[in-house]
């Protein structure tokens, strides 16, 4: 099941195509990186929304100029301890300026949601049973202070602190 950026359950309007599956006209679909690389021309002309599934051992830079072509990029956590997609998300949002939907898929657990959101993810595919049992929106509210600058643009503690010191000095 799918959660939006607030942790609320939402419908998945995307169809995730297998590598030899055909897309229906006008249907929003995601395709694998492999398929994109092999059939680039064919997909470039399509007017319906297109999404990309990027495996977690691919550098985000491989997408290159085509980044704007995608309305969604799905990154993968094959096991929750495999944290490569955090860096991918960080770079896609922060360095390459990706503005579409960034979706976390795979072994996505509630207690990682906030880390993911700070890296730039804004939708989360989670296990159906877990989706119903857990209080997902709460995961986003657990912290409102952070020590690092991140893609959520929350002002880090260090900057807040310096500002409060300066105000005190004035």
């Amino acid at each position: 099941m799918l959660l939006d950026k607030h942790g609320a359950l939402c419908a998945d309007s995307w169809r995730h195509l297998g590598d030899d599956e055909a897309a229906a006209d006008g249907q929003a679909v995601t395709i694998s990186l492999k398929r994109w690389q092999a059939e680039r021309e064919r997909w470039s002309d399509r007017s319906a929304p297109l999404g990309l599934r990027l495996p977690n051992d691919a550098a985000p830079a491989v997408i290159g100029e085509a980044l704007d072509r995608f309305a969604l990029i799905a990154l993968s956590f094959p096991r929750f301890i495999d944290g490569r997609a955090y860096s991918q998300a960080w770079l896609l949002r922060g360095r390459f300026g990706f503005r579409g939907e960034l979706r976390a898929t795979g072994n996505v657990l509630r207690d990682q949601l906030l880390f993911m959101a700070r890296c730039g993810f804004d939708s989360f595919e989670v296990d159906a049973e877990r989706a119903r049992a857990e209080d997902w929106p709460r995961a986003f509210r657990e912290f409102d202070l952070f020590y690092q600058p991140a893609n959520d643009r929350a002002e880090p503690i260090l900057q807040q602190r310096l500002r409060s010191w300066q105000t005190a000095a004035e």
Binding site: G83, S87, G94, M116, F143, Q148, P149, L158, R161
Partner: protein, 551 residues
């Protein structure tokens, strides 16, 4: 000393509420043990052989008297009355109940302590020279940088699920008392030709089953760029570090596989591409200055005749003189000394400290050391600023609490992990080996001079055996404990890994074997040589020979 402000306190409160809820979900059956495991580990809670073990972070080994009293209270109320100081300058409590942990952490939060990231595949406690800020051979105080890195690395969104744990150490003195070459990332504070402060950055050091010393990625990173450069180092590791094999997942294996040149190339390319992110992570002078102000020296008094008084006292009392010789170090301020409190009375478990002892030390710190205490990576404690005129009084009061053993740096000042007495990873016991050795060697340790014996109860090497002058590794062979012995290791600026002297020996043979190795060293050493110096000069052969002859 760094004090939490409203931001740090609120952050820790939020973390506590989160953890309390995680424990509640676990006890209610909403989280499986498998899922809960990674959550409890991120708060320092391990499941050991007999009970849960809670590891509390002591950032760069710095404690206030209030913190030490907080730890004493935990030992008394929720454990069996003692704690164990570790080689990561942390403390562990070995007899903890899961359901108590939220209350324990709440209790510790009140004194600005926590268990965040004392386990798990992320940044571990940042360590440094236990004499930081007071050593007379220091370029600049490393603690402000430790605190900056500590804050930046706390619950880092990108790097909390690295391939494996990640240990950072910072050294800022001529001598390396932080063992930076056995760390995933070692930072050596230095100045460049123009006098600007920055860091030499080393990566890929570590012990465990593949001991490797760190190599230099960059000779000089200006302090302004410190966080940005570390980010580049970590990002390359997060991307390429191995995740298919737990034993090959540390950064040292990646650096070894790529070669330091290729790793450096990747890091430099990433660093060059960082752009706006680099600006966001920059440490302008005013930020560093604001942090340095947190570590301002205490209100020292001017020295008056302290040395003459001290000389009289040591002349009158040889036991006191011995303690002064081994347990005190030069302080950069005239009239003051650094005092090392030994947690290694011969025959007792190394690094253990009772609640009563912690409270005594806290009281002494308040009375005689501006309320400050340090933890060393060799499992002792430090009172960093004691007036020389107060040393005699301090010695008497420490002695009354069994804390005045004059053995710092000597044979009975052994490093040992908890081993099979507690640890679920251990393959052999460490504590009884250390107890027997310290008791046996104490009698002649002054003749032997400086000697570092380090004992690990398994290949993971928490006892740093590879870099002991004499290293002892506990193994399990056909159901019996056996011990592999190495010689010539060292963890200082000339860091070296020890060489194996022969087949592993049984537990009851360890003391005799170590004796013969020490005898060989004493026979061969030349003036002023310590064990590693003699080893470098004569090699492994004479030590092997001594054991072979005995067999």
């Amino acid at each position: 000393m760094y004090r939490y402000d409203e931001f740090d306190r609120k952050f820790l409160e939020e973390r506590l509420v989160q953890y309390r809820d995680q424990v509640r979900r676990r006890l209610a059956g909403q989280l499986s043990e498998d899922e809960f495991r990674s959550l409890r580990l991120m708060n320092g809670l391990y499941l050991q052989l007999h009970a849960y073990m809670l590891r509390i972070s002591i950032p760069y080994g710095t404690l206030s008297s209030a913190k030490l009293r907080g730890l004493a209270a935990v030992a008394r109320r929720w454990d069996k009355g003692y704690g164990h100081f570790t080689t990561r300058q942390n403390i562990q409590f070995n007899w903890i109940r899961l359901e108590d942990t939220p209350d324990i952490l709440a209790h510790l939060a009140a004194v600005e302590l926590h268990g965040i990231q004392t386990s798990g595949n992320s940044f571990r406690n940042i360590t440094t020279d236990p004499f930081a800020g007071v050593a007379d051979d220091e370029i600049e105080d490393p603690r402000p940088y430790c605190e900056i890195v500590r804050q930046w690395s706390a619950l880092h969104p990108e790097f909390s699920f690295l391939p494996r744990k990640f240990k950072i150490a910072i050294n800022a003195a001529g001598e390396d008392r932080a063992a930076i070459k056995i760390h995933d990332l070692g930072l050596r504070l230095r100045r460049d030709e123009s006098g600007e402060v920055g860091f030499a950055v080393m990566v890929g050091g570590g012990l465990g089953r593949t001991p490797i010393l760190a190599q230099t990625v960059r000779e000089f990173v200006p302090r302004r760029e410190l966080l940005a450069y570390i980010t580049a180092c970590l990002r390359v590791y997060n991307q390429y570090g191995r995740r298919d094999n737990l034993f090959k997942s540390r950064i040292k294996i990646l650096v070894q596989a790529l070669g330091i040149e290729k790793y450096r190339e990747e890091v430099e390319a990433e660093y060059a591409a960082m752009g706006a992110e680099r600006a966001a992570l920059a440490l302008p002078d005013e930020t560093v200055a604001a942090m340095q102000a947190q570590f301002a020296p205490p209100a020292y008094r001017d020295a008056v005749n302290d040395d003459a008084e001290l000389a009289r006292a040591t002349a009158a009392e040889p036991e006191f003189a011995r303690w002064i010789e081994y347990n005190t170090r030069a302080h950069k301020r005239p009239g003051y000394a650094i005092v090392v409190i030994s947690l290694k009375p011969p025959g007792r478990p190394t690094g253990d400290c009772s609640a009563g002892q912690m409270e005594t030390i806290a009281d002494l710190a308040d009375a005689l050391s501006f309320g400050e205490v340090r933890v060393t990576h060799d499992q002792n404690l430090v009172l960093p600023h004691v007036r020389k005129s107060a040393l005699y009084d301090l010695w008497l009061r420490l002695g009354a609490a069994d804390l005045a053993t004059p053995n710092i740096g000597l044979a009975s000042d052994i490093i040992a992990c908890p081993g099979l007495d507690y640890c679920s990873l251990a393959t052999a016991r460490s504590i009884p080996i250390a107890q027997a050795l310290s008791q046996h060697l104490a009698k002649r340790e002054e003749t032997i001079g400086p000697l570092q014996i380090k004992i690990s109860g398994c290949i993971n090497a928490c006892g740093h055996h590879h870099v002991g002058h004499i290293g002892i590794l506990g193994l399990e062979k056909n159901g019996a404990e056996s011990y592999q012995i190495t010689v010539g290791g060292s963890d200082n600026a000339q860091a070296a890994l020890g060489g194996i002297v022969g087949p592993a020996v049984a537990a009851h043979e360890v003391t005799g074997t170590v004796d013969r190795l020490i005898d060989t060293y004493l026979r061969l050493r030349q003036d002023g040589e310590q064990f590693p110096d003699t080893y470098r000069r004569v090699g492994l052969a004479p030590f092997k020979e001594a054991l072979y002859v005995a067999r």
